[in-house]
Amino acid sequence: MRSARTASQRLTSLLLWALPLAFLAVFYVYPLAAVIGQAFRMPPGDGGQHIWAVVWKPLRFTVLQASLSTLLTLLVGMPAAAVMARFKFPGKRLLRVLTTLPFILPTVVVAAGFNALLGPRGWVNLALMGLFNLTDPPVQFLNSLGAILLAHVFYNTTIVLRVVGSEWSRLDTRLADSARTLGATPWRVLCKVTLPLLKQPILAATALVFLFNFTSFGVILLLGGAGFATLEVEIATRALNLLDFRSAAVLSLVQLLCTLMITLGYQRVGRGRVISLTPRISGENDRKPVTWMERLWVGVVVLVVVILLVTPLVALAARSVTKLEPDRGERGGFTPRITLAYYQELFTNRRQSIFYVPPIQAVANSFLIASIVVVISLVLGFITAYRLQSGGWARRAFDVLVMLPMGTSAVTLGLGFILVFGRVIMTLGIGFWLVPLAHSLVAYPFVVRTLQPAVAAIPPRLKQAASVLGASPWQVWYRVELPILKRAAMVSAIFAFTISMGEFGATTFLARPEYPTLPVAIYRFISQPGALNYGQAMAMSTILLMVCAASIALLERLEQGEA
């Protein structure tokens, strides 16, 4: 009887390993190996003989900008996470939703948003020029390292906010309170008690942010201008424009190697006992800021977050409903007018094109795909997070494997997908699934990294107590663990959803024209000249923002309503 049970348990355990492993093997390892293998069978490009010269410069710049960007993101994100976790203030829920939105925006739209705000004729420059009577725009922002760093902070602060913030808000404050009672200063409590308790989520967020910056592509290309090239930009240029597959493959391998080292480093630092604490209901520790110092602190942090993360979104939305020039080509003394013309135009197929996308259909496609991605990546992510609790070398190896898709060149992987699944793409019915599967591959490391610290922090005695009282393993999971994990699950779901909604790279490689997503539709508009095209791209982006804001708000309500 006893041995039979262990055998079936072992079988279950094996099956649970098999699912995420098979997913990664089929949709990650196989296409990647196929495309790199193919590349080395092709003739070397011109740069073949001095490959290190090709690698060195972009590698150096990639490490530099990724380190700086990550540092800045933590600098903005940590205080924001602290404020969001500890204080109640009006508009907090709205702010949390808004700060997630940058994550979904296609880079070309972010570039437009920044341009509307900080460009030579953006609001800031126009205001300064008017104020100080200047003839030239004082802020020269675009095409600089500063633009790259700012855009990375804009995109990634939400990772710190969500991953660290969610754990922080359910931290048991009794430890900090005891330290305060014993005479520690608030600063000392933060350094010696709170931050060490948050080590796991902070590390996870840092690793995610760094990898995101490390493989940054669109931001560098569009906002950094032609003077900057990361490994990913160099890979795309080599593969897509110079048709030098071999150098692209070498660069991809270098990038992969770096990801491997970053992940190993992360593992090393993160080693050590996870302190499990009695999790508190989230929101339990919130309080209103009382002293004027606290008020000032909350005010300053909120203000910084609003300026950095929310104003470009507002600029974008505002741009989609304003008509700047009464007579195009004539400037000076123009009065911006409010218009819904761009939104109305979305519903007409002016060119009678076969590729016209009705906005409702793009919203429906994006929404459907994103929902599938949430389901796939959460199922796989939950299994993986639990599997990673067991010890041994297999766990450590798997832990590394999970992170690798994040550090893999999207261009290389996209070409691999085409090579391996090219025929499938054309098969109606199955081809549809490649897009959500590719999105799930991108979302999967995020989901695992968000769930894992939460799973690790569940005190075993809670589960043991439930078991002793007669709960079945399933009941233990559903009644004890799931409620504790709900917050982390919600954060993962939001990430999976937003990653899918905003994803463009893989989608252009894999999408069939029958199922265009919102970002695909946005690009179709902005790649042609004309005020209507530009306005429609802004309008479509605003729709993307609103659909995502509504979805995120709904997810959060679900989580809080049942907590």
Partner: protein
Amino acid sequence: MLILLAACSPANAPEDARRQLTIMTHDSFSVSEVVVQQFESENNVQLVFLQSGDTGAALNRVILTKANPQADLFYGIDNTFLSRALEEDIFEPYQSPLLADVADEFQLDTGHRVTPVDFGDVCINYDKAYFSEHDLALPQSLADLTNEAYRGLLVVQNPATSSPGLAFLLATVAEYGPQGYLDYWSDLRANDVIVVNDWETAYYTNFSASSGQGAQPMVVSYASSPPAEVFFSEQPLDQAPTGVLAAPGMCFRQVEFIGILKGTANLELAQKFVDFMLSPVFQQDIPLQMFVYPVNTNAALPDVFVRFGDVPAEPARLDPAEITVNRDDWIQDWTEVVLR
């Protein structure tokens, strides 16, 4: 749950019983619904268009999968990539009878492995209002652009990442030769030329006459951009807000081709489709769909092209084979001179 999702996803639409003809294209490809329907009903076939990124990305896809082709035809290869594609031996030769209506200058492959479909000129666009407000004369040649008067007024694209950027680089090579073009570019650099990576940024962020209202009144774009500005304007215009610098040698002509991919199981139908693309029905649909010009001399142009379009009389020319041999070197040397 997954099964449930599968049940309500559009993926389960019933399979079309008709034969399929698959055309791989770049993302800028577009065509009217009625035109597609005409070919489909005449030939009892379903057309499937696989949009696969920009020209480079789409060509990549074709080359990587040439052992196991994913489409019957490939549309969108241009004269800057042509020889590279021909080297890969991916096309099945076909000489369409309709080539009789196509000027010789477009028939760049004598082996008829590819058939010209449309052409467009990459030219500098200028902001009419800026030049009249500042009482500035228009540059009349590439050399003029290095004059002090135009300091910091031109934005171009990086030829390593952008197709119009490469075309403009090729125009300078044609004008100054493979030796002299670098000197020209170092002069342009000294005159504060702005370089960005892609057309979208150049046009919508840097160009002063677009909706982005940037700082540069001159941008590398297409000769057909002014008609597009009129067609996609917020209200009817009687004048385009932008103009084209079309003096001899200032523009580079891009010709786009279609080719039948080797290994197709629908050879006869694919040939019919090539004929169809050259026929007036398709050719007349091209301008407003893709904002390029038809190659068939019998195709009538839409009104907005007749009134606001400008076809440069003497665009720069380079032999496609010469481009293929040198393009990587030209781009890399350009990068050293202009960006480092």
